[in-house]
Assembly symmetry: C2
Homo-oligomer: 287 residues x 2
């Protein structure tokens, strides 16, 4: 979680790591884009160390250098935990990096992405075109509207995997982190379905992870598992996502996950990483 | 790896993450200590977000908030991979955090720590007393001298586990990262012995990891395995250590590692983490 801060000097971008004055700072080569969308302030910078960087309300969303870890983990772990993931919903995900990973799975027949802010996708297409190569895939539908409403009105049992690729639980996105939303997701998912949501830093935001897990359990999911992975440009450089299964124990990835390289081009995800990601540190055992 | 930089403004400390202008910055509550030792410049800061922080030549060595991850991983993985670790050598390790973890293992009968700079240990005792609670353990001997010479002159077969807890491979520490040093370690270790060295960031310093692995192989170790773990205040927030076995395949932790909580107080390390740490990302498969 972070907040907008005034840059103390020109040509520097700072992302808040912790509420009390800890920042990750990048020297900016060029400020490529600045836009006040109907929902947030969107900026794109070119940096020396991490390439192109997109921020929303002053918070890093993705960088050239490390977005592959987050995007691969948000897509492949849940998809391989599902026995036959045909219908996928992405909530948020405007940069289209998760969408691209999901569509590497040939079983997927329908992918709907519900992003609030069309400007995010427009900026991704312009500044991160390498992430948007699957946007025109005939299986994909990109909607720009409120996902909370969309999920509340979705047909019961109409989705196999729901991926919540949202901003931090502040402002608009806060509604994506509560038991009410998880209840709608649970209803929308078919039997064996999986919900996966980004759940912040294990080190800095343990209370967020715990609250997400509790909300998912209250919504009636039969299994809840948290995974962690490195994400250098998110607070603490260590991030998590929490999966919830509807009559799915999340313990048995499909056979194909044992050799994902046969069907997927990945730079981070593989069979060993899939299992390893669920190993939680001792301090998190009680979550 | 980092370099000393002039603080752009008072009361801020910046640690370089990448050679081209990416920093982790902390607001400083108090600059507790500044000392030019015979070997380096040592500072201790009190920060808002990460508690007390020690730096050497401007590079973060440890913070209150996250040192447990590094110290536990450097000690317990190697010790549990050894069938009977009685004689342990720590190279560097002046803050005594690894020493403290090692001495949790009751099998250890003798621990020798060879740190170049006595000022580091003196500062740890003053500013990180909670890490130094085992310094007076009768099994421990703290020497302050050049570890390269010490290892070169050590009796063959006299050490079971050698832990290299050094600064980055710059300046004095560079000699701890070459094939010559690894050769001396190999000779010093008894059959079944293990060398473990910190090997920098998997994302930013892949070339360092590869060079360490190659150096260890050239030194005659029969197995080389790299593990990764989060370390928020080191560059990229993602760190690695590389183990080398002398007739030890490093694949079979002792039975006790399956339930380390019975004998160890840990906040990060546990049996699942032990196995998971060795899962390498796809981009590192060829290392």
């Amino acid at each position: 979680m972070a907040e907008i801060v005034d840059n103390p000097q020109p040509y520097w971008y700072r992302d808040t790591w912790a509420p009390q004055d800890c920042y990750l700072s990048f020297a900016i080569r060029e400020h490529l884009h600045h836009q006040r969308t109907p929902f947030q302030v969107l900026d794109v910078f070119e940096t020396h160390s991490f390439g192109t960087v997109m921020t929303l309300d002053g918070i890093i969303q993705l960088t050239d250098r490390d977005n592959f870890i987050y995007h691969e983990m948000m897509a492949h772990v849940a998809l391989f935990c599902h026995r036959d993931p045909r219908r996928v919903l992405i909530v948020g995900g405007g940069d289209c990096g998760v969408l691209q990973q999901v569509l590497q799975h040939r079983q997927v027949q329908q992918l709907i992405q519900v992003e609030l802010d069309e400007a995010v996708t427009a900026a991704a297409q312009r500044f991160f075109p390498e992430l948007c190569t699957s946007n025109d895939d005939p299986r994909a539908t990109l909607l720009f509207q409120d996902a909370v409403q969309w999920v509340a009105q979705a047909q019961p049992g109409s989705v196999d995997v729901c991926i919540v690729d949202s901003t931090d639980p502040l402002g608009q996105a806060e509604r994506l982190f509560g038991p009410a939303f998880y209840g709608h997701c649970q209803r929308m998912l078919a039997d064996g379905g999986i919900l996966v949501v980004q759940s912040e830093s294990p080190l800095l935001h343990g209370h967020v992870v715990q609250s997400i897990r509790q909300g998912q359990r209250e919504a009636g999911f039969s299994a809840v598992r948290t995974m962690t992975f490195p994400q250098p440009t998110y607070p603490s450089g260590w991030f998590s996502a929490t999966l919830a299964g509807k009559n799915n124990d999340l313990l048995h990835p499909r056979q194909e996950a044992a050799d994902p390289g046969r069907s997927l081009a990945t730079r981070y995800y593989n069979a060993a990483i899939h299992q390893a990601a669920f190993a939680l540190p001792s301090f998190a055992m009680a979550w």
